[in-house]
Amino acid sequence: MIKTDILIIGAGPTGLFAVFEAGLLKLKCHLIDALPQAGGQCSEIYPKKPIYDIPGFPEVLAGDLVDNLMEQIKPFQPGFTLGERADSIEKLDDGSFIVTTNKGTKHHAPIVAIAGGLGSFEPRKPQLENLSKFEDNGVAYIIRDPEIYRDKKVLIAGGGDSALDWSIFLADVASEVTLIHRRNEFRGALDSVEKVQELKDLGKINLITPAEIIELKGKEHLSSVVVQKTDSKEHIEVEVDSFIPLFGLSPKLGPIGDWGLEIEKNAIKVDNTLDYQTNIPGVYAIGDVNTYPGKLKLILCGFHEATLMCQSAYQRIFPDKKYVMKYTTVGGITGFDGSKKEAPKAVVKAIE
């Protein structure tokens, strides 16, 4: 069981900044995120896009903003449960919570802050009739262990970096790699596109474009897929052991929607007059995941919400303590790792 003061669900910019504000109050944080890396949308969807409305940054790349936030919160040693989705919440008699992920990891904290953005990112699934029947029986959306494809016939669909990169990687592992895309053009790093071209010319990747999968066949386990060429409408049946559609990820509010929280417009209703608390005392929602009159889904608004949430969380954890807000210019930053940052002391010396 992972124990912490504030359990943050979602490691996007808002969740990350909450670690900093909590750290100033000497509260420890742990973050859960369904993605394998921190940063949320900023890392997953648009790491190379510049953002122009972060106060004090005339221009910052989304990926760099995440790197900076990670650096900023380092002294407060946040814990991370990455690649797992927060699935269920249980309130204990003492008012604290246990949040369990889809992989069974349990987290215990007096405060839960949902900074879930648009939800957890789930693989986009092609719309094929018997797709769910073959999930884990030949169809996979994420490659966890490439070794299971050794000497197998693999078919990958998709036109982005992950489709290209896995085709290249599996060309040396699988007995047969087929790559299918709806267009002739791929959108990926130039290196990867060239490498796939090379492997295709060597006959190590069987490329079928422009085409799409229209049917899955097999008894218990997937045995072949039917591919339709877009231009000629010709059908090709490809024998496969595995079909891996790599169409990117899309966010879904997911199980959080069933936690008994008040939901409006796909977002969690919070009290914006005070502390961004939800209808469940001790559970807060900050950043893009919440809604209130006048809500704006902006990173800078998430930062503000995270800050007020931490103050309220502190009062809940220590109802008898009086906290006086200290400016970092005055108090500096004392990390849980023993590090200390503060303004250099002015030199007091007489000039003779």
């Binding site: 648009y46 896009k49 998709g158 895309h181 709806r182 053009e185 899309s250 966010p251 796909n266 809604t291």
Partner: protein
């Protein structure tokens, strides 16, 4: 007057004739959001960067629209339910030439 008329058929099949401003630097996805013709969180997920296809729509009138950028074309090539008349609403900047445009929102993925 700098408003134009656009007919938008929502995902429930209901057609709305709405006024869209040409002078507010809006795109079609934002107009759909402004009129709440699709629930929040189901359209414009990426914010309008042509990086998701949640604002995909079918253009049912014969308007000449701006050409697709590489980004839009690439995104539509990975989207589902794509037809020949598919466009991403976020890439259609509201302009006077779109007066009388008729579009239909593609189903939610």
């Amino acid at each position: 007057m700098s408003d134009i008329k656009i007919k938008i058929t929502d995902r429930e099949g209901v057609t709305h004739e709405i006024d869209a401003p040409t002078d507010m630097n809006m795109n079609l996805m934002e107009v759909v959001k402004a009129y709440e013709l699709a629930p929040e969180g189901t359209i414009g997920i990426c914010g309008g960067m042509a990086m998701c296809a949640s604002c995909q729509c079918y253009v049912n009138s014969n308007h000449t629209l701006p050409e697709m950028s590489d980004d839009e074309e690439a995104m539509l090539s990975e989207a589902f339910n794509v037809e020949d008349n598919s466009r991403l609403g976020c890439q259609l900047h509201i302009s006077e030439g779109m007066d009388g445009l008729e579009v239909e929102l593609a189903p939610e993925e």
